[in-house]
């Protein structure tokens, strides 16, 4: 009796990366015993501290720790959905498995998976951190890798494509997704961590991670940190001068005093809450906490034209994106037809139906006259958003309205609840 399980449309290991949002599974039973198997049981077994799974008979049904499902006569197939159990992500590939059994029988198939979500950088294990840094350094390849294209997308000449308007959040979501998929092409167990800038993050600002700054603002790494050989624009190194004590304080400008702090998560989520929590109000978070987090440093990360040269930029923006995702979850703002979910900005690139530069390759005015990087990277687990994403495609990132819109990422503290 042969059992074969496809997850996310693939029977290959590349398909076995899950988030909170349900992923489609198809079990096929072949061979002489196909007609003898009427029902199967789907369950989860995991290593200690491994990810935990839940299962769904339908994508909008309740989550269960196991399912008993009938086998379709004729085709010998069983369809179900699987996702991570909120609060129990994996730490590495294969630390949790889907187990298929005949009802009343022994396990017939065990498929190792990973619940892969974006996590708080300050909470990563050393192994998770090092895998991320290795992948990031590989993409940089000491200045010779594709990372330079990402750097070239975030320049002063292109600032209006991504800033100062309502497309700010969707554009950066696509940007992060593109980079994350490049990282996953190096190591599929990697996801982009976020810098929780309204909290102290001493493990992040450490020579073994994003580095610590000397008096001149030159960032120092351990000799074995892959970022030791970070190069952008042909120049090695990172210049970052914190205006706060990174080992004891959250992001804030204190030099010179007095203090302007990046506003807290609760204050960010409260933006516009007095008036019904519309996107147009929420997008003002581009000022604080976003702008404040950037300018709580001197150096590369403190100017649009140089910010993407500092790897910390991507962790900063992962937190911005997480705040948007959390706001969306809190106020149920995933549906592009909901006027509270997005406010059109007028300028091209900031309206729902607009495709976004540079992925659309559009170099006609008012777009910039170059479009580095080509199309947005494809993923082995989802088909969305395609190589030339639109603003609209960035909203329903968990596929709540249409599972085909799922983008293949989740945050550790933003659940999926149908």
């Amino acid at each position: 009796m042969a059992f074969r399980l496809s997850i996310n449309g693939s029977t290959q290991p590349a398909g076995r990366y899950l988030g909170w949002a349900p992923s489609p599974c198809v079990l096929r039973i072949t061979g002489a015993d196909r007609l003898m198997t009427r029902r199967v049981r789907v369950s989860n077994v995991a290593r200690a501290r491994g990810g935990r799974l839940v299962f769904y008979a339908t994508p909008d049904g309740p989550a269960r720790t196991s399912l008993t499902l009938p086998v379709q006569l004729g085709s010998g197939t069983v369809r179900f959905w699987v996702g991570g159990r909120f609060g129990r992500p994996s730490r590495r590939s294969g630390d949790t498995s889907i187990v298929i059994s005949r009802v009343g029988g022994k396990p017939a198939l065990k498929v190792p998976c990973m619940v892969r979500v974006r996590k708080d950088a300050n909470t990563l294990t050393a192994a998770e951190r090092d895998r991320f840094l290795r992948a990031l350094a590989a993409v940089n390849n000491q200045g010779n890798g594709v990372f330079q294209l990402f750097r070239d997308m975030h320049v002063t000449q292109a600032q209006l494509e991504a800033h100062g308007n309502t497309g700010f959040l969707p554009w950066h979501r696509a940007y992060l997704l593109d980079l994350e998929r490049e990282l996953q092409a190096v190591d599929p167990s990697v996801s982009l961590p976020y810098w929780r800038f309204d909290a102290v993050a001493p493990r992040l600002f450490h020579p073994a991670f994003v580095g610590t700054s000397n008096v001149a603002g030159t960032v120092e790494f351990t000799a074995t940190n892959p970022l030791r050989f970070w190069v952008t624009d042909g120049v090695p190194g990172v210049i970052r001068r914190p205006e706060f004590d990174t080992s004891t304080e959250q992001a804030q400008s204190t030099d010179p005093p007095p203090t302007l702090a990046a506003i807290s998560e609760a204050d960010t989520l409260a933006i516009g809450a007095f008036a019904g929590s519309w996107y147009g109000d929420f997008a003002s978070m581009e000022g604080n906490p976003h702008g404040t987090a950037h300018t709580s440093f001197g150096g590369m990360i403190s100017s649009i034209g140089t910010a993407a040269r500092d790897p910390l930029f991507f962790l900063l923006h992962a937190n911005i994106d997480r705040l948007w995702a959390k706001w969306q979850w809190l106020y149920q703002r995933f549906d592009p037809t909901d006027v509270a979910a997005f406010t059109e900005g007028g300028r091209v690139g900031h309206n729902l139906a607009d495709s976004m530069w540079p992925w659309n390759g559009d170099v006609s005015a008012p777009r910039p006259d170059t479009a580095p990087g080509g199309g947005l990277m494809q993923s082995p687990i989802v088909t969305a958003p395609g190589p030339a994403p639109t603003v609209q495609q960035m909203l329903d990132y968990q596929g709540r309205h249409d599972s085909a819109d799922r983008l293949g990422f989740d945050y550790d503290d933003v659940p999926f609840d149908a």
């Binding site: 290795r134 000799a223 050989f229 409260a270 581009e286 000022g287 609840d417």
Partner: protein
């Protein structure tokens, strides 16, 4: 925790934040309180949003009778919304460019405008005035203000500023900042033709930090290949310079550096941390399986190196997935 419980928790936190912010705004608006008390209230206010509050903040910030720290605090509060208020941007630029303003007020204006710059459009319309104000601040006697302004100007690739910095390094004008800092600022313009100056600083450095930064700035200069090769091979050379050289050669000579790094990593008489760093350099660029002899070197180093950093480097090399 169940998702519904979690939702209740987050909703509660947001409601609490709103209540605290509303109370803080009421205190800020209270004319009965001193200016100091009103500004202190803003720490709990989150972000000022309403036009009348922003107008009030701007009014106090403009009042030269108020203490400089108080005014600077309010300038910081103006920052997040300033990009959408042309008059506030103008106000901030005027504070920055006014040599009669105290340094903390001008420095707060630099920070506020840097933040506003991330929202693009507003400041783009007043760019010329902004740059002029920064140039004025770059002449300040206050070191913090001067360095902040120069940093922004250098990242904006302001030609007159970069020229001044270069001239100061050549001894043709007074130093604005330390040599290391000056070289850092020049690095924002990597195509600048200063190779002769940089090589001179490498030979006759005013400080170790300046030498290291000069080496970084030379990293994409193909005519410096022999300099970097010599540095990497010289066991008497300081470690940091050799590490920068390894990285530079990866840009200038990507095929050659893998051979060189492999050779150094295999040399049992070499500094263990340099060996480890060479393994890391190769691991970021090359599949582990492409150099089977290097794998053996890394295995030995991982087990036997006396330096913890070297053992960790070797392990990183061994753990690097093959392409």
């Amino acid at each position: 925790m169940l998702i519904q419980q979690y939702r209740n928790k987050v909703t509660g936190q947001v409601a609490k934040a709103r209540k605290r912010a509303d109370a803080a705004i009421r205190r800020f608006r209270s004319a009965k309180l001193s200016a100091k008390a009103r500004v202190r209230a803003l720490a709990d206010a989150g972000q000022l949003r309403e036009e009348r509050d922003l107008d009030q903040a701007e009014q106090i910030a403009a009042d030269r009778e108020q203490p400089a720290e108080l005014r600077a605090a309010l300038i910081g509060q103006l920052a997040p919304r300033s990009a959408r208020r042309a008059k506030t941007l103008k106000f901030l630029i005027e504070r920055l460019g006014d040599e009669g303003e105290p340094a903390p007020v001008r420095a707060a204006a630099v920070s506020a405008l840097k933040s506003a710059a991330f929202q693009a459009q507003g400041l783009a319309n007043q760019r010329a005035a902004y740059i002029e104000a920064l140039r004025s601040a770059a002449d300040s006697d206050d070191r913090t203000l001067r360095e902040r302004a120069l940093g922004v100007l250098a990242r904006e690739k302001d030609a007159p500023t970069l020229r001044r910095i270069e001239q100061s390094l050549r001894g043709q004008s007074d130093a604005l900042v330390s040599p290391e800092k000056a070289l850092q600022l020049l690095s924002y313009d990597p195509k600048r033709n200063v190779g002769d100056l940089l090589r001179d600083i490498v030979r006759n450095p005013p400080s170790d930090g300046a030498r290291h930064q000069a080496l970084r700035n030379l990293a994409s200069d193909s005519s410096s290949k022999s300099l970097f090769t010599r540095l990497v091979r010289d066991k008497k050379e300081e470690r940091e310079a050799r590490l920068i050289a390894i990285s530079a050669l990866h840009t200038i000579d990507p095929d050659g550096i893998e051979e060189l790094a492999s050779e150094i990593a295999s040399d049992q008489h070499e500094d263990e941390e340099i060996r480890g760093a060479c393994l890391v350099a190769v691991a970021t660029a090359d599949p582990a399986n492409a150099h089977p002899e290097l794998r053996e070197v890394a295995t030995k180093l991982a087990g036997k190196a006396s330096s913890r950093a070297a053992r960790a480097a070797a392990k990183l090399y061994l753990d690097t997935p093959s392409k």
